[in-house]
């Protein structure tokens, strides 16, 4: 079964997105600490998308899909805003972030540490961010 949530491009929606992801994970009895991290990873991707790809335009929207399989969970975050180029991303240096007092740049670092696979692709003229997480014992 694929779970779907359509959301406005507003930072205020992040709470609802987290609740949606958490509910799906809990319904599959995922342990608390693991569920918390996965919720965080999805939150980070959605926050980046809302802020950088859609400039918080509430007239625009995107979709979060969760496919909970036997051995892994697959998340797809689908939108038609500005595409993100993962190949142009390099992990920031923490000391540099401190020196420049830059508040961003940590989100994708967290996602990379939490998820087993991250891909940004195009499908039917839409941007698709694919996140995969292997399930413990799966």
């Amino acid at each position: 079964m694929i779970h779907r949530l359509k959301s406005q491009c507003s930072k205020k929606q992040l709470r609802e997105i987290r609740a949606f992801v958490e509910k799906v994970l809990k319904s599959h009895e995922m342990p608390d600490i693991e569920a918390y991290q996965i919720v965080l990873a999805v939150d980070e991707i959605c926050a980046n998308l809302i802020i950088h790809s859609h400039h918080c335009n509430v007239e625009e929207s995107f979709e979060v899909c969760i496919d909970y399989q036997d051995k892994e969970i697959i998340f797809e975050i689908v939108d038609d805003g500005l595409a993100f180029a993962l190949n142009q991303y390099s992990e920031p240096n923490l000391k540099e972030i401190i020196r420049t007092k830059k508040k961003g740049g940590l989100g994708l670092m967290l996602v990379q540490r939490i998820m087993d696979k991250i891909e940004f692709t195009k499908r039917n003229n839409k941007n698709v961010c694919l996140l995969c997480k292997k399930i413990e014992g799966g």
Binding site: K11, L14, R18, L40, I98, L106, M109, L110
Partner: protein
Amino acid sequence: MVEITAETRDGIHELIVVGEIDASSSIHLDNAISATMENGHQKIMVNCEGLNYISSAGLGVFMSYLDDFEAKEVKFVICGLNEKVNHVFELLGLENLIKIVATKAEAQAYLNDSQA
């Protein structure tokens, strides 16, 4: 949604954070720390006993003040992180950059220790 209250006692300025800090609410943490710095406090404790979620936006706020804390010789400590929130700090190794202790009592002891 996050609620932040401030209290100064015995030279320690305590920010009590309750709720969730994400990309939407991190501005409140930023404003609270900024006001604390403007008021010239030298010993700052962020009490996170009531914090049940933090995303990179919140971590980024803490990171953005570390340079100022060092330059202005401000002692800064975070206490009361629950296991899940603490793990987010650890995912990025921030416990090596920010002073984090388990309890409020430990935070007070650190701030009052002139050798630390």
